[in-house]
């Protein structure tokens, strides 16, 4: 394990979230994993077509899969952390086996469990999530460490034939909490109302 490595990464997660979420349209659906990716997405701007998880650790990727299957004409991006994705390692296989072309999984990889005291995750050691995605059969699986690489990967996240996996190495930081509502029923209903129309709530 190299527990200092992530202290020196170039990319800052809040800036990465802004880059991913700026200028979005209503054909771009987002699920965030619990913890920091949720706060990052909220800091970039709350949106009814973002479903920010407050729990259900390990569920973000397959939630994105169910959504992507249901909405094949929309682009779905799951934005989650390395710890959350490590709990969902089997999801790489489940998603790749479905071959969903409109799904991108993006991990903000700070090599830490950020909500619980910054303990090192497995990615601070030998574990390579990009290699896992490739081995499972993701047609696109890339790691990003610089601003230039981030700019190059953006159209791939938003348009490439998937499933797409991108591991973005981000600096380990302690950042202020920027919280969305924690009312799960509200988050669900506002998403469905925006995507499916008011009749979906009847």
């Amino acid at each position: 394990m190299d527990v200092q490595r992530a202290d020196n990464y170039e990319l800052l997660r809040r800036e990465v979230a802004k880059t991913l979420l700026v200028d979005r349209d209503d054909d771009f659906l987002v699920v965030t994993g619990l913890g920091s990716p949720n706060w990052d997405a909220t800091a970039a701007g709350d949106h009814p077509l973002t479903f920010p998880l407050w729990g259900a650790m390990g569920g973000a990727a397959t939630m994105g899969l169910g959504l992507a299957v249901a909405q094949p004409e929309k682009r779905v991006m799951v934005m989650t952390g390395d710890g959350e994705m490590l709990m969902a390692m089997g999801s790489f296989a489940t998603i790749a086996a479905q071959g969903v072309e409109n799904l991108a999984i993006v991990v903000f990889d700070n090599e830490r469990y950020g909500e619980t005291g910054m303990q090192a995750t497995h990615t601070a050691g030998p574990v390579d999530l990009v290699a896992v995605a490739k081995a499972c059969g993701f047609p696109v699986a890339e790691q990003v460490k610089t601003e230039a690489e981030l700019q190059t990967i953006l159209p791939i996240i938003k348009e490439a034939k998937g499933p797409v996996f991108v591991d973005i190495k981000v600096k380990t930081e302690n950042l202020p909490f920027i919280l969305p509502t924690k009312d799960g029923v509200h988050l669900k209903n506002r998403f469905r109302e925006k995507l499916l129309g008011p009749d979906s709530l009847l």
């Binding site: 650790m57 169910g66 979906s200």
Partner: protein
């Protein structure tokens, strides 16, 4: 015991009536005939899971996108879902599970006992409504009632298919 899982087409018919589009499963012999019917149906997408909890979050994502999902799993898989059920519970996502039971009737394998006996209390502890059926003629309507409950309220609802509905598995003994 029911030969040839004669009730399986009744479940399939109900899933069609309920417009279920995503069929998430970890396979079990008790679901094999039904799964074949779902796989042959172009309007249904069968999604094998590596572990059952993936199905809970998948079903939530499906609902966000306007589709209905069902989970076909074995009793032992219920234990793999426990914390993920908090997603359905907190957000009132519909969750519809059809669970084939073990450790009930002429069970050969004692390793099935803990989770088989724990299936109902585990589900109920997490807020899932549980209905069990052992009469082959009542399977279809039991599934219909539970499915209408799950998608209509919406709520979490599980049907337990009693082991009497399955052939006895004797591992060649």
């Amino acid at each position: 015991m029911t030969e040839n899982y004669a009730w399986a087409p009744d479940i399939y018919d109900v899933l069609k009536d309920l417009d279920v589009r995503q069929v998430a499963y970890v396979p079990d012999a008790g679901h094999a005939r039904l799964l074949k019917m779902c796989e042959a149906d172009n309007a249904m997408r069968c999604i094998p899971l590596t572990t059952e909890e993936e199905g809970v979050s998948l079903a939530a994502g499906a609902w966000l996108g306007g589709e209905r999902a069902v989970m076909l799993i074995q009793s032992s898989g219920v234990g793999n879902c426990i914390n993920m059920l908090s997603l359905s519970n907190t957000c009132r996502f519909p969750l519809f599970m059809i669970v084939s039971m073990r450790a009930q009737w002429r069970e050969f394998n004692p390793w099935q006992k803990p989770m088989g006996e724990g299936t109902r209390p585990t589900l109920e502890a997490m807020g899932v409504a549980v209905t069990e059926v052992d009469d082959p003629d009542a399977v279809g309507e039991t599934v219909r009632s539970a499915g209408e409950h799950a998608y209509g309220w919406p709520d979490m609802s599980a049907v337990l298919l009693n082991q009497k509905l399955m052939p006895v598995k004797t591992f060649g003994k």
